[in-house]
């Protein structure tokens, strides 16, 4: 190997070139990002996408109305599969909501400059995904008008939720996460909102962006406070990245159900969440950079780095699958062993092998630099990862429940059309929010991207030579 000649990419791996291609000036970056919100009309693709999103959102509304009016019986949930698609969808969406905070908090602490081009986008995605996630437990309670009972609110009936239930921990974990993510996202956006305010040429725009930019003037003191707040929020958000999905994993792992009760669940769920979150960021980023002309800000290198994270976290998930399988045998517990054999060779074997191939096998292609830098290869793979991670939650939830300790109650779980349409509809909610975001808010953190431009550094411009 040492004999091989180094390519330009090899050298860049050691002496990174500029993150942003084409050496734009500060003004150009502002113009290119803030300008998108000022376009008189978005591209035609946006209208098409928005029409589809609204249709799906309508389907979601119709399904939920039908559900509330009729009852949870419209879903395929039964005994013993009392947790069917709703919990699968909940975990799926919470998982997707992990990339944002990881990128903006953990990668910030790790000094990964490349995150500046994608953090705003990923944080927005996080918030919308968490909104979709929150929907499912709320409607799963059946009588949705009592959903507020999930919170420990003092009331005359002295009714309290069960503090020993991980479902209650979920309420806290997810709402804390949603709050901090929203704060982080919004606070990071203030300087950019102020930029758009300053560029506004209509009164409505000036007012709208003006209110939300909180009187930002870009003074030294503002920036100082901003940077401090950012660092503190990053440090506080980092444990949240671990806690949310750990608590979600407790929903399963505290139970005695074989296939659920295994100690590796918390870190394994966190890795899986980051895995699916990054896959969703790439899924959305590839078209967005194309249609809004941001290919020089979100470059192939950014996509490549995200694909590397996908590969890494996919391997961690694979490690967990392997450990679980080994331990199912090693434990000497026949129920545990059955749960795993049943997963791989029982009636849901098709779901299990879909999960394994999407999550562990296909991402292996990302070992090759050529492939992880090729849009035609990475796009199918990230779509498959999205599919695979939904199936992971399906496999965990349904295989263990459908064949529990009482063989007489075993049966094959079938979702209803409402199950499927509700899940499809949740994509409508997600996409609608997202399309509004890319239309009206700065989807790239302009102020942060400027800090990684060569012109922002005193030592100048060109790659250091002679190192």
């Amino acid at each position: 190997m040492a004999k091989a000649e180094l390519t330009q990419l090899d050298v860049e791996a050691i002496y990174p070139a500029n993150l942003i291609e084409g050496d734009p000036s500060f003004t150009q970056v502002t113009q290119e990002v803030a300008g998108i919100t000022e376009w008189p009309k978005p591209p035609r693709a946006w209208y098409i996408a928005f029409a589809i999103a609204l249709t799906l959102l309508g389907i979601l509304g119709a399904c939920l109305t039908y559900l509330v009016v009729t009852g949870v019986g419209v879903w395929g949930n039964n005994q013993p599969v009392a947790w069917g698609w709703p919990i699968v969808n909940f975990v799926f969406w919470v998982g997707i909501g992990h990339a944002g905070t990881l990128i903006s908090a953990v990668l910030f602490l790790f000094r990964q400059d490349w995150r500046t081009s994608i953090n705003r986008f990923a944080e927005a995605m996080t918030i919308f995904a968490v909104a979709c996630a929150g929907l499912f437990p709320a409607v799963h309670v059946g009588r949705i008008w009592f959903a507020y009972w999930l919170f420990p609110i003092p009331n005359q009936m002295s009714m309290w939720p069960n503090f020993r239930s991980p479902l209650l921990w979920d309420v806290f974990a997810v709402s804390t996460y949603a709050t901090v993510s929203l704060l982080f996202w919004y606070m990071g956006m203030i300087p950019d909102l102020a930029t758009i305010r300053d560029r506004a040429n209509t009164k409505i725009r000036r007012m709208a962006y003006g209110v939300f930019s909180l009187g930002w003037s870009g003074s030294n003191r503002h920036w100082h406070r901003y940077e401090r707040a950012y660092l503190l929020l990053a440090a506080l958000a980092t444990p949240l990245v671990l806690s949310v999905h750990s608590v979600v994993s407790f929903d399963f792992a505290v139970a005695q159900t074989p296939g659920w009760h295994t100690t590796i669940f918390p870190p394994y769920f966190v890795a899986g969440a980051v895995f699916s979150g990054f896959a969703m960021v790439v899924t959305l980023m590839v078209p967005a950079r194309q249609f809004f002309g941001l290919k020089h800000i979100v470059t192939m290198r950014h996509l490549e780095n995200m694909n590397k994270v996908i590969l890494t976290t996919g391997m961690i998930v694979g490690y967990a699958y392997m450990t679980e399988f080994f331990m199912a045998w090693y434990s000497g517990n026949q129920y545990e062993a059955f749960a795993f054999v049943n997963r791989a060779f029982g009636p849901y074997a098709w779901a299990y092998w879909t999960m394994v191939s999407c999550n562990v096998l296909f991402p292996q292609l990302f070992w090759f630099r050529k492939l992880r830098r090729n849009l035609w290869v990475m796009y199918p793979i990230v779509l498959l990862v999205n599919v695979g991670m939904w199936f992971e939650r399906f496999v965990i939830t349904v295989t263990s429940l459908s064949r529990d300790f009482v063989p007489s109650s075993w049966q094959y779980f079938k979702p209803t059309a409402i199950d499927m349409l509700t899940f499809l509809g949740s994509f409508g909610l997600f996409a609608t929010l997202f399309l509004l975001f890319v239309r009206f808010l700065p989807m790239i953190a302009v102020a942060e991207v400027k800090t990684v431009l060569p012109t922002a550094h005193a030592h100048g411009h060109k790659k250091e030579e002679g190192e």
Partner: protein, 433 residues
């Protein structure tokens, strides 16, 4: 950036290394000799001695494994903050042949038949299954048997030694290869696949050496638990080493406050991570309350181990968490050195908590009245006192000293600094915000 020319005197260990090697070897040999005497005087056919030996062995092994993780992750992520400390980690990594030698005495409890009727073996009770769980343990024979166990150990060390040799060879090669960055690039390429092998071998080794001390018990997170300890150990070890070198006027100017701060941050992060993993394991087993899983904790939460469990929580998590929280603590050499030593000892204490309760466990359980029913509970022999004596200290200290002697010996033969690493200039110039 200017072309840095660093005075070779700052990265040549010289006489300091020879002295350290001499002193550490003498202390180590002396400590082990005394322990051997104490172990013999115990009159329990070396059973206590070997439990402590496993403690010392898994301790030095964890530092070595931590160094593998450290070196690999720096290459995978292309880190530059760590360039000036990476050679020290590589030197630690080069000690795997020594660690393997240190493992040889464990062949005795593995192969000997002493104590087989009473305890099922001197160290690992699966060697000669007996008692209530005999049939369960026999069911694991395909994995838990002497020959496969030995084959696995040989495989792990094969992998670790090969990795250590490769990364050491290439790194030293880069020292003298001028502008040619191919050795660095080669290391980067090999690092990611190596990580897979590392994860598998570390997990399996932790199952073999530690988890199988209670062959009826199992926990899927156990590999990650041991891993978190390994990472704590290496970050502590690196901080201590850099401070020791700088006290001797070495590595001055190439490793500053910013670098200590980063070491401290990682030490803090992994204290937190260890707490997270330990909590995950404990909480999930406690909550589900399945007897075959809770037995392991029951032993540790009954006398004489109750206080040890509390101490573990407070001493290895709560106190260092608060202690390392402040930025100033991590940026000051003095305070960081304190917390690094503290965490190294805390990590040893964690291993003590994993290993020694098994030594005191009543061979056939203890019959006691629970809820009006007589039950057989897997706890310590009633009246057992805490095994915390000279041997618990001397054996880990002895093995650690020999390990340090090995590090000093390797370090004396080459620069302490990856002096020609392409990322060196960046490493010298960065600042924490």
């Amino acid at each position: 950036m200017e072309n840095h020319t660093i005075d070779p005197a700052t990265y040549t260990l010289g006489e300091h290394g020879a002295r350290l090697k001499r002193n550490a070897t003498s202390v180590g040999v002396l400590a082990l000799a005394i322990s051997a005497y104490l172990g013999f005087a115990e009159g329990d056919a070396w059973r206590h001695f070997f439990h402590d030996y496993l403690l010392g062995y898994t301790f030095v092994l964890s530092i070595a494994l931590g160094s593998v993780f450290f070196v690999l992750i720096q290459h995978i992520t292309g880190s530059f903050w760590s360039t000036t400390v990476r050679r020290v980690a590589e030197t630690v990594m080069a000690q795997f042949p020594l660690v393997m030698l240190m493992g040889l005495p464990l062949l005795y409890p593995l192969l000997s038949h002493v104590g087989q009727d009473e305890f099922g073996g001197l160290l690992w009770p699966w060697l000669h299954p007996h008692g209530a769980h005999a049939s369960l343990i026999e069911g694991k024979h395909a994995f838990l048997n002497v020959s496969f166990f030995l084959i696995r150990q040989v495989f792990y060390f094969g992998v670790w030694i090969l990795m250590a040799r490769y990364f050491n060879k290439k790194s030293v090669e880069q020292d003298n290869s001028g502008d040619d960055v191919r050795p660095t690039f080669a290391m980067r390429k090999v690092a990611a696949p190596s990580m897979i092998l590392f994860a598998i071998t570390l997990t399996a080794a932790s199952f073999d050496l530690l988890m199988s001390l209670d062959p009826a018990w199992f926990s899927t997170i156990f590999g990650v638990y041991y891993f978190s300890g390994c990472v704590i150990a290496i970050f502590a070890f690196l901080a201590i080493t850099m401070d020791w070198l700088q006290d001797r006027n070495l590595m001055v100017g190439v490793f500053n406050q910013e670098h200590y701060h980063d070491l401290g941050k990682f030490l803090f992060a992994f204290v937190f991570f260890w707490g997270y993993i330990a909590f995950s394991q404990f909480m999930l087993l406690w909550y589900a309350d399945i007897p075959e899983e809770t037995g392991w904790y029951l032993l540790r939460q009954s006398d004489p181990w109750t206080n040890v469990s509390w101490a573990l929580l407070i001493l290895t998590f709560v106190i260092p968490f608060l202690g390392l929280l402040s930025r100033h603590v991590k940026r000051s050499r003095k305070t960081l050195k304190f917390w690094a030593w503290y965490m190294l000892v805390a990590h040893l204490f964690d291993l003590y908590y994993l290993i020694l309760p098994q030594f005191t466990k009543a061979a056939n359980g203890v019959d006691i009245m629970v809820d009006g029913k007589m039950q057989n509970i897997p706890i310590a022999e009633p009246g057992t006192s805490l095994p915390l004596g000279a041997m618990e200290v001397l054996i880990p200290v002895g093995l650690f000293c020999l390990f340090v002697a090995g590090v000093a010996s390797t370090a004396g033969k080459r620069p302490l600094l990856a002096k020609n690493d392409p990322l060196l200039p960046k490493c010298l110039g960065f600042h924490n915000i």
